[in-house]
Every structure is written in structure tokens, then in C-alpha cells.
């Protein structure tokens, strides 16, 4: 137990400690996001991540948003377990035909008002997989998309920027 506490105190709070240029940008972005989220959703934005046919690369970066460096929850953005609790669907991957109905049902289960973000090159424009017998291609071919975030996969910082842009578009 002592080891645990020792490590916690010796590492300290990395979220604040890193204020190099890289993280300064994150800090400003985050605060900006918080301001806008407060305006739209009174301080809370619930995101439901849906993998519709991703290679799992995008998922790794969504996970990274929750690591202590980005700690996305401090801006009021949190990931939820059910679409019924969500304001935003964050969809990754091309929509595989085998996931098409599942994605449509997830979309229907999300209460209004809702936004859809297509994350990564596959979800935005089909990426390396495109449209085929097995893939519907971009998410917008299946459900209405409010914004796209490019990258293969987009870095956590780009993801945060993406969220910001969505807020501006919706203003």
C-alpha cells in the first residue's frame, strides 16, 4: 500500500504538470471546449463510441483521451455505456454491412438532440476500405453525420479539436 501512495505522490498530477507547447494547446482547447459545452449541454457531454467496422486504431486513441494527460472528463466530456445516455455518437471505421443494422438501431436508440461524429479516415470517407460487398463505406452513407474528424487514426489532440469545431458549427 505504501508503494502505491509513494508512486501516486512522486508522480504527482501529470495533467497539470506538462505545460510544454504541446500540452498548452491542449489546455486552451480544453477550456474552450468546456465553455462551449457549458453553453450547449450545461457542462456535460455524453459520448457513445460505436465501432462500426474499425481496425481498432481509432479506439486506441479514444482510450488515450481518458489517460491522465488529456483527462477529457475534466471538460465535462464523458463516455457512456449506452446510446440511450448519449448526446453524441462517435462512430469509427467504415460501416461494415454486418454492422449496418446495429448502427441504425444504435442511432435510433440515441435520444434527440443528438450529433454524430465520424472519426478517422474510414468513417469520414471510406479510407483504405471504401465501399464494397462487405462495406457501406463512410458513416454518412448510413446515418446523418454532423462532422468528420480526419486522420488515420486522428491523434487525441485532433479529436479534441474536432469536438470544438462541432460546437462551433452547431452554434
Amino acid at each position: 500500500m505504501l508503494n502505491t501512495f509513494k508512486k501516486i505522490f512522486s508522480v504527482g498530477m501529470v495533467t497539470e504538470k506538462y505545460k510544454a507547447a504541446y500540452d498548452e494547446e491542449l489546455e486552451t482547447l480544453g477550456i474552450e471546449i468546456k465553455r462551449r459545452i457549458d453553453h450547449k449541454f450545461t457542462g456535460s457531454l455524453a459520448i457513445r463510441a460505436v465501432d462500426a467496422g474499425s481496425c481498432n486504431g481509432c479506439e486506441l486513441e479514444i482510450h488515450a483521451l481518458n489517460n491522465p494527460f488529456y483527462d477529457v472528463e475534466r471538460f465535462g466530456i464523458h463516455f457512456v455505456a449506452s446510446p440511450r445516455h448519449a448526446d453524441i455518437l462517435l462512430v469509427t471505421g467504415v460501416v461494415s454491412r454486418h454492422m449496418e443494422t446495429a448502427l441504425l438501431r444504435t442511432y435510433d436508440a440515441t435520444p434527440n438532440p443528438k450529433w454524430v461524429i465520424a472519426m478517422g479516415d474510414c468513417a469520414s470517407c471510406g479510407g483504405e476500405f471504401g465501399v464494397s460487398y462487405a462495406s457501406c463505406g463512410a458513416v454518412s452513407n448510413v446515418i446523418p453525420v454532423d462532422m468528420t474528424i480526419n486522420g488515420c487514426p486522428p491523434t487525441p489532440l485532433v479529436l479534441l479539436k474536432g469536438l470544438l469545431t462541432l460546437m462551433e458549427e452547431k452554434k
Binding site: T4, V50, C58, N67, S96, S132
Partner: protein, 526 residues
């Protein structure tokens, strides 16, 4: 290769004629008659050969059916040909459980009937194409003829159970966490799991079909997206296969850099998963600390090489980015720091009694079951399967170093946890050795000149990714284009072992059991 001689004489006695062809230092191609397909498997099983992979392809009016076997680091690529008009072959799944889903996949994609297969249900096919259409056949277009909206696959017959208090839990395809989609069907009594059945195929993206006709460069990109967390190793395996087919030798420097990338990928994933295992038993401290270390590691990837997961940094003929002297120095310092961090963290995790309570004995996979399903990578190595491509069938740069393989035979989640920790240590040492070797070579010389391979030439790339052995098959067609690409991710074999490892565990322990395997959905569904 002494066992091959003994085995060949056994085959000869059994009346199985073998036409052999040398593919690479570790791979021999053996062509046999289709009627001996199952008999070969029986003899191979008696000879304790491991079934590693299976796939097929159409070449004009014929199907080439392949199965890949391994023993003591020597691979046999078994091939037979059957006529497209009568696509029948005796099943090897009756002998090797590991071949079960692979043969079902081959059936769904090419319409080859494996006679007496123990499980006739479809596997990869849901409802995106019709029962009697087969996407990998030449007469099936890439676009297919999909319905306006593909309906859900509701007709799959899961194993049923009856009895007082037995109930069923359907989970997925959309899961509660941020993970890939797949369906799990539990039969449970109270909290106890009686049976688990996986139904995958949800992220089938037609990878094998859309690979056809690509250029080598474009295939390397696609291979990097077979499973995003294994982008380095899948690209590497595909590139080895293509380079083999074309007879291209990569430079020593490029091989060392590939090795550094692959080991960095292994460390990144192991760090993240050790944290995630702790998170699944609600030990947030370890989760956050490990995620912190993983993030630092990925940032270094980005700063030194331009991508957090090193995607597309391996190309046919070599690599696109050098490890400069300065980068080498940075890598050394970083490894030192990681050692210090882990020296703090691992004892703290080890001494946590609640963690011990959850991880020891949970998710037990016996060495027998692991061997039965041909389980690979850290899952196999934690259950007594002492195999690692890097040591047993070494490829450059691993042929220039000693690879220490982590090994345990306890078979529980804790065992897998410790194997992964040991692998981090071993990988750090490997990276150091590779960087040291790089210093003796001149900078530059990263990409070898490409030579257009002859039509019909093929190659088999076998590497050890962080999940275990990856087998990647590439055959070229005319004009430098790909005729067939089949990557076998280790998950394909490990998924079945997971079904057995969760038996007699409680339902709430499924997430941590699952995480301790961390199989890829995308790499399995293709």
C-alpha cells in the same frame, strides 16, 4: 530438418505422395493429392505438428487449398488443388480443432465444402451476401449485390441449454465499453458461466477481396489496417511475403529498424493492457499509471518517427524512416526511465492483495486446451506453449540476437499478466541491442529497389507480433499486382481458447478474462 525426413518416409508408407518446393529457409511447400487431405492431418497430429493456418484461393478453374503446419520452428505449407466444379475436400477440423473456424471461413468465402466438418454453421457470412455466393471467387465482383439495408443475422443457431435456473445472456455486437463489435452468448446459472459462444464476423470489411489487384505499396498499407493495434507486425509480415515472392533482399539497417518498431509496438500494447486488466478489477491507480507510460511511449513514436502507432512506416523493401544516432540516444534514455517507472509500479501492483485475489486462478486455460487450439503469443506462453517465431524460426534482425522468451504454465490471468511484463523487459533489451547494432552501420540505405515479381510467385511471411505468430500469404498475378492476400492474425486461434478459459468463472469476471486475452475482432473477421 530431421523430423521432416522421418515424417516424409511415414507419408510415403501411408501412400501419400508429396511434391515439395523450397519457399524460404523455414518454409517448405508440400503439394499432395486432395483425397489425402484429412489423412495427412491425422499423421501430422500424431507427429505433434501444430496446425497454424488455413486458406484457399481460386486460380482459374482450380482452388488451391492451403494449410500451414509447424514443428520445432520449421513450417510446412501444405497445398492441394481441387476443381471449382466439384469443390469438396475432407475436413482437417475433425483432427485439429484449430482448423474449425478457418475452414468455415474458407467455406463462406469460396464455397469449398469440407466434408464431415464438425460444425456446419456459417462463420464469416452474416447477411451481406447470399448463401450460394462466394466473395473470393472470380465471378463475384468487389461491389457484390448488397441489399439496400443489410438485415441482421438472426438465424444463427447458438447452443441451447435447459434446466432450472439456467439463463442466457446475449451481449453485443455493440458493447458497453470502447471496444470492437462482436456477439457473446452466455449460458449461466447464478453468476457461474456454463458456456460461452462467440459469434464474430461483424467487422468483416472484405479485406481479402479488396487486396486483389493492388500494388505492393498499396497492399502494405492495407496490411497495416488488418488490426490497427498490430499495424507494424501485420505490415511486416505482408512485406516479408512480398519480398520473398519478388526475391528482394532488404538492407540490414532496414531489418533492424523494423525490429525496433515491432518491439516498440509490443511494449506499447503490453503497457496499455496491463493497465486495462487492472482497470477491469477496479484498480484505477495501476490503470492510470500504465496509461501514462503508454502515452509517453506513443508520443516518442510520434516525435521520432511521425506516427503514434508507427503506421505505414514499414514499406515493401524496407522502412521509410531512419533511426538516427540522436533518436537512438533518446530511445536508450527512455528505456532507462521506463525501467525505473516499472520498478516502482510492478511491486506496488504485485503487493496488492485485492488484485491477487481477482487475478490468480481466474480465467484458467490449461496447457492441454491451449495446445488443442494452437493458442499463440502471450496467451499460449502463459499456458505452457513454449513457442516464439523470433526464437524458433528467426528472421532478420532476430537472427543476430538472443531472444529470451517469457514462459509460464499456470494458465490464469495472473500468468498472462506476468508473461506480458516479462516480455516488456525482454523487448527493451532487444531494442537496445538493435540500436547498438545500428550504430555500426552507415545511416541511410533504407529501401531496397523493387523488382517486379513473376506472375504466380508467392511468399509466406511469418513474424511474431505482440499477440503472437502472424502468418501472411501473398501471391502475385500479372504486372506487379496482388492476386491473393491472406493474413492470419493470432486472434483467430486465441478466440476459441477464450471460450474455454471463461468456463466456471463468474459472469462479472468475463471482462477481465477477455482483456487478458485481448483478441482482435478486426484481424479475425477480416
Amino acid at each position: 530438418m530431421s523430423w521432416q525426413k522421418t515424417f516424409l518416409s511415414q507419408l510415403d508408407e501411408a501412400g501419400i505422395f508429396v511434391k515439395s518446393e523450397h519457399v524460404s529457409p523455414v518454409v517448405e511447400m508440400w503439394q499432395i493429392d486432395d483425397k489425402h487431405w484429412q489423412h495427412f492431418a491425422k499423421l501430422a497430429a500424431e507427429h505433434k505438428m501444430r496446425w497454424a493456418a488455413g486458406w484457399a484461393e481460386q486460380v482459374e478453374g482450380l482452388f488451391y487449398v492451403h494449410a500451414c503446419f509447424e514443428k520445432s520452428g520449421d513450417y510446412v505449407l501444405l497445398r492441394t488443388t481441387i476443381n471449382v466444379s466439384k469443390p469438396e475436400l475432407p475436413s482437417q477440423a475433425t483432427v485439429y480443432a484449430a482448423a474449425n473456424r478457418s475452414e468455415r471461413h474458407t467455406h463462406d468465402m469460396l464455397g469449398i465444402e469440407f466434408m464431415n466438418h464438425p460444425d456446419p454453421r456459417c462463420w464469416t457470412r452474416h447477411k451481406a451476401w447470399n448463401k450460394h455466393d462466394y466473395p473470393l471467387r472470380h465471378n463475384f465482383s468487389v461491389q457484390g449485390s448488397p441489399a439496400k439495408i443489410t438485415p441482421p443475422d438472426t438465424g444463427y443457431h447458438f447452443i441451447q441449454s435447459h434446466g432450472v435456473g439456467v439463463y442466457e445472456i446475449p451481449v453485443g455486437p455493440v458493447h458497453a465499453g470502447i471496444i470492437e463489435p462482436g456477439h457473446f452468448r452466455f449460458q449461466a446459472v447464478g453468476e457461474l458461466i456454463l458456456n460461452l459462444e462467440e459469434r464474430l464476423g461483424y467487422v468483416h470489411k472484405g479485406t481479402e477481396k479488396i487486396a486483389e489487384g493492388r500494388t505492393p505499396e498499396s497492399l502494405a498499407k492495407l496490411a497495416g489496417r488488418v488490426s490497427g493495434d498490430t499495424c507494424v507486425s501485420h505490415t511486416w509480415a505482408a512485406c516479408i511475403a512480398m519480398e520473398q515472392a519478388a526475391g528482394v533482399e532488404i538492407s540490414k539497417r532496414a531489418a533492424l529498424i523494423r525490429g525496433i518498431f515491432a518491439e516498440r509496438e509490443r511494449i506499447a500494447n503490453h503497457l496499455g493492457d496491463i493497465g486495462a486488466i487492472c482497470n477491469d478489477v477496479a484498480f484505477t491507480f495501476a490503470f492510470m499509471q500504465m496509461m501514462r507510460l503508454k502515452e509517453l511511449w506513443c508520443r516518442t513514436n510520434y516525435e521520432l518517427f511521425g506516427h503514434r502507432f508507427l503506421m505505414d512506416k514499414i514499406v515493401v523493401g524496407g522502412v521509410v524512416v531512419d533511426v538516427t544516432e540522436a533518436a537512438g540516444k533518446f530511445i536508450f534514455t527512455e528505456i532507462e526511465q521506463l525501467r525505473v517507472e516499472l520498478a516502482d509500479l510492478i511491486p506496488a501492483i504485485d503487493l496488492n492483495s485485492s488484485l491477487e485475489d481477482r487475478l490468480y486462478t481466474a480465467g484458467y486455460l490449461s496447457p492441454e486446451t491451449a495446445a488443442h487450439f494452437g493458442t499463440l503469443g502471450f496467451v499460449g506462453r502463459a499456458s505452457g506453449q513454449d513457442f516464439d517465431v523470433r526464437r524458433d524460426a528467426p528472421y532478420a534482425p532476430y537472427d543476430s540476437v538472443q531472444v529470451k522468451v517469457a514462459f509460464e504454465d499456470q494458465g490464469d490471468i495472473a500468468s498472462r499478466f506476468w508473461v506480458r511484463y516479462k516480455e516488456i523487459n525482454a523487448s527493451m533489451k532487444l531494442i537496445e541491442q538493435f540500436v547498438e547494432q545500428l550504430a555500426t552501420l552507415p545511416e541511410g540505405d533504407l529501401v531496397a529497389d523493387w523488382q517486379t515479381p513473376k506472375a504466380e510467385s508467392y511468399g509466406l511471411g511469418i513474424v511474431d507480433g505482440w499477440r503472437g505468430e502472424i502468418v501472411s500469404y501473398v501471391r502475385f498475378g500479372e504486372n506487379n499486382t496482388i492476386a491473393r492476400f491472406y493474413p492470419r492474425d493470432p486472434s483467430q486461434l486465441n478466440w476459441e481458447a477464450l471460450e474455454k478459459a471463461v468456463l466456471n468463472n463468474i459472469v462479472p469476471d468475463f471482462p477481465v478474462c477477455n482483456k487478458s486475452f485481448n483478441c482482435s475482432y478486426s484481424g479475425c473477421d477480416l
